[in-house]
Symmetry: D2
Subunit: 337 residues, 4 copies
Amino acid sequence: MIVVMKSNATQEKIKRMKRRVESLGLKAHVIVGTERTVIAAIGDKRDGAVETLSSCEEVEKVVPILAPYKVASRETKPEATAVRALDLAIGGGRFGVIAGPCSVESEEQIMQAARAVKECGAKGLRGGAFKPRTSPYSFQGLKEEGLKLLAAARAVTGLAVVTEIMTPQHVDLVCQYADVLQIGARNMQNYPLLQAVGETRKPVLLKRGHAATIDEFLLAAEYILDQGNKQVILCERGIRTFEGHTRFTLPLATVPYLHERTHLPVVVDPSHGTGIASLVPAMCNAAVAAGCDGLLLEVHPDPTSALSDGDQSITPAVFAKIMEDCHKVAAALGRPF
Amino acid sequence: MIVVMKSNATQEKIKRMKRRVESLGLKAHVIVGTERTVIAAIGDKRDGAVETLSSCEEVEKVVPILAPYKVASRETKPEATAVRALDLAIGGGRFGVIAGPCSVESEEQIMQAARAVKECGAKGLRGGAFKPRTSPYSFQGLKEEGLKLLAAARAVTGLAVVTEIMTPQHVDLVCQYADVLQIGARNMQNYPLLQAVGETRKPVLLKRGHAATIDEFLLAAEYILDQGNKQVILCERGIRTFEGHTRFTLPLATVPYLHERTHLPVVVDPSHGTGIASLVPAMCNAAVAAGCDGLLLEVHPDPTSALSDGDQSITPAVFAKIMEDCHKVAAALGRPF
Amino acid sequence: MIVVMKSNATQEKIKRMKRRVESLGLKAHVIVGTERTVIAAIGDKRDGAVETLSSCEEVEKVVPILAPYKVASRETKPEATAVRALDLAIGGGRFGVIAGPCSVESEEQIMQAARAVKECGAKGLRGGAFKPRTSPYSFQGLKEEGLKLLAAARAVTGLAVVTEIMTPQHVDLVCQYADVLQIGARNMQNYPLLQAVGETRKPVLLKRGHAATIDEFLLAAEYILDQGNKQVILCERGIRTFEGHTRFTLPLATVPYLHERTHLPVVVDPSHGTGIASLVPAMCNAAVAAGCDGLLLEVHPDPTSALSDGDQSITPAVFAKIMEDCHKVAAALGRPF
Amino acid sequence: MIVVMKSNATQEKIKRMKRRVESLGLKAHVIVGTERTVIAAIGDKRDGAVETLSSCEEVEKVVPILAPYKVASRETKPEATAVRALDLAIGGGRFGVIAGPCSVESEEQIMQAARAVKECGAKGLRGGAFKPRTSPYSFQGLKEEGLKLLAAARAVTGLAVVTEIMTPQHVDLVCQYADVLQIGARNMQNYPLLQAVGETRKPVLLKRGHAATIDEFLLAAEYILDQGNKQVILCERGIRTFEGHTRFTLPLATVPYLHERTHLPVVVDPSHGTGIASLVPAMCNAAVAAGCDGLLLEVHPDPTSALSDGDQSITPAVFAKIMEDCHKVAAALGRPF
């Protein structure tokens, strides 16, 4: 950590700050520059000491040097983590596709969707039973009934069930049916929920928050890892920016960047990332080319009748073509799946 | 709702869409323009019908005309709502200040803070007992012990206790001690939590999410109102933008804009909105001048020793000056408090 | 255009607005809804009438239906435009790569760079002679001397010279040396400059502004097209968002989205789009997979000695590998180049 | 400047980097931390050396310590700068209001506007003669004819003429008529234009770019100052964010923040900052309360007939009330004007 003193900080204030850094168990190294004095604080300190120091009036700013996350860091664990659930494997050289409708709507719908995506090579089945909806007046999901339908679809197809969990109170219930617990973007910083899924031994698919920085994203993963659950999949699903022509802005550079910083696998969700079905195929190809470890896609037997996210859902026919193209892109880059 | 058809939509497709709009219980009105045909769909429909229609391939876009929220709307209830807790009154011509430390750290600290802010005219005492922290390694709050200390401070000062609640599981516990339940920015779209506090009859202070649009903000309030709890205070606390010189960007135009749209009171949090203590006084004055119904401020007896948010916390002395100036600004504009 | 009246607009105000719409040469169609009256204004009007109407107090908002650009629109010209300069061809099924250093620094540097990128298959040579630099204290380019060096590199390699032009006053000078005129992101809305390059018959590479919407981007192209110059290449180079881990956020969904809206070719600049050399290869693959018509890349013989943008410049060796991989991705998707 | 080495950087690489820092004329100070080695580079270097170093593969990042601007810095010149033009004085304790229509449309319109704003206490008259419009099909201004009308309005009212200049080619022409040269947000990084106005001795009103950071804003001012023109007024006019309910997001914390960093005066433009006339009065009060040195406002005798920006223009009656309220707020805070 580098403590930058104000240009008018007196010798006495600098000394005081030096003592203060030392009192935190860090080694202080004073460097007198031409316009500023800075104090390098040496030691491994990731617990908020930064905030304390920067509130002193003689301090201009505090610059952290170390990343704030640790267990998620590639430096802590250089080899890539692979997460598995039934036949679904993501990370560590394995590429996995999770597909299905936004919401579970009926037995017929989920069965049709499951069979269709299975046939094209998906290994995971997505489908919301508990749906976080922006409006209280929108369809909120079939709840436990939806979980049962997902389990029934798994029984028939062998697909791993990936479904969202919205509150710690549902952990036991959802764990009875799901193979992978999904944390939605709105809940990325719902810490009691992160801790609750961290206490299970189910793989967790953690979606990036709409406005989360990469550090915040990895710290959210760290909350789960910190509870002993090492099976975390990161999901880039787009961020909120000034762009209004797409639902969100999908920043694919996150994929190689995260691969440099963390050992955790990274999947991409082009359905939410664009919000427009016609853009999904191109963005699937792009995500694979960027090196992601998997895709999360909304596929609906009949998007025009979907109770949620119809706009961004693709048909099974389009999904089949996407899978074909993604296979080709991956193979061309020497990463067949 | 206006359904804009693609320029190449055939007569048949337009007819089909007309029937579809009608099947939703809406009246369809086809308008043939020079380059586009649009269908005006008449009727009150706020439940996601928009998404369904826009996923049809012949549709270019669907433009909603009505606001998606209803109970929160100024049209539904023209007169301003006033929210009260002990001596704290916010909205409907009443201005209330809630101040105190970011976290409750010790009996001495919270007592000192409570006495100091009381003396300057605050009517609410803020203080976190359950703290949502970005890093799992940061101080997480004193939990129930913190709630007890807040209640003790109330016993001495008469200040209304405003404290954050992070999960539905804590509702009963927190309600035993708090006068106002705070929903933090990270939880603005934690719907089970919104519903849980909506079921109580405690006033709720709802902070705007880091990347929430105004519609999303009001729909989050709507989740609470929809459960029968009418005592909701909206809090603008800054949004995430490309600006890095402040912790968040504080968009004060939200204040008059919300007053046009909703009857709910609006308070401003310049502490989180800037993240820099030296900018807080100017932004308090500005918020009052913009017409807000109250302020939420981090005041710490000794910010440099704070366990959280020391950077943005002000001293009691600065708080006293802020109160004095805000009184002057409010009085100058004919809104004395 | 749809004029949405306020809920309390009287019959008289509605009639007045109807007359006003008609006075603009549009046909007015009044639709009485359950909560709002809207007036559909029919006719082709793209000249700011919208602003005029929405300032009337009885109007809540005005929703445009038509895109504001016309000549750039895919509806006006369905077939893709191909832009050519020497052997460089971009668009209409042709894929072109423009590569070279950020700035022309010396004869040796530009010759080395030109030979290296030519050998790997680039058809265009980029290199800044007039450099827009954020700080007045940074290297500002070799100016006319730089243009001469670019022309010399072209004489040897046959590469088309692509170089930035910063002011209308330099049009004649730059046209003497350049094959493609580049408009930088900072100048995307420098209208006198757009008009000046629009008056030439040189192809123009127009970079998206840091915070430009797609409509603004296409309207900037429209300024050039409107002067009679039909040779415009659009370049997505990243936008400014809250993300700080990359220099900009590169939203590749722009590529398929623009292809839907406009006939103009779209190239991607992953060097500026990420600002980090190690992320450039993955984003080149992704851009090709997303369907772009070309790439713009910063390649420097020795990035660590570059006078500008060293951070994001790649070496010739990395560039060779990128070209190889991009060829594979393009071929896999049936779009060999 | 702090050079942070990668965790796996060898001793040899660290030595090499130390030599490299020294070769730039800086003193290098190697600090070996628990997880990282950092090199503190001491000396005053603001010319892009940062970029060069961070492109070395053994470097993780380079953290600048000094602000990149110098002449604009409050450290260089602690006392506030006052800018004057006729009776208009802004900065150094003087508060000035510039008001008038977006565009000069006719003699009658500008005269009416000028008389109205003068009567209420404005000292500057704004009015666009050369208009940068997003669409080439929108009204582009009366050009020289507009400048003549502004001069005529000055002759009658004594108001200082503030008008936009879009290209270096117009400097001589505009200087014949204008008292203050306005650089619009789209041209904030049009460096040839900044240099051209920097060569004149007319005061310059520099608007912040839509996505400009504070450092970029001050460096744009530095381009003007660097040419010897010390009369620069900074104008906060709103930034582009995800917020869509206002035209831009107006971040008033810029005002006190800039006052800490620079001696240049800061004015606020609530008309563009919100884009909605009904929000302008509240934001004027807020801007004054935040401590700005002046206001820039769009006032039109009849906003509903305005050829541009009618949406955000206020009437003379509203302007009169704003001036009254702003006087009260300023007086309440001990800064009467």
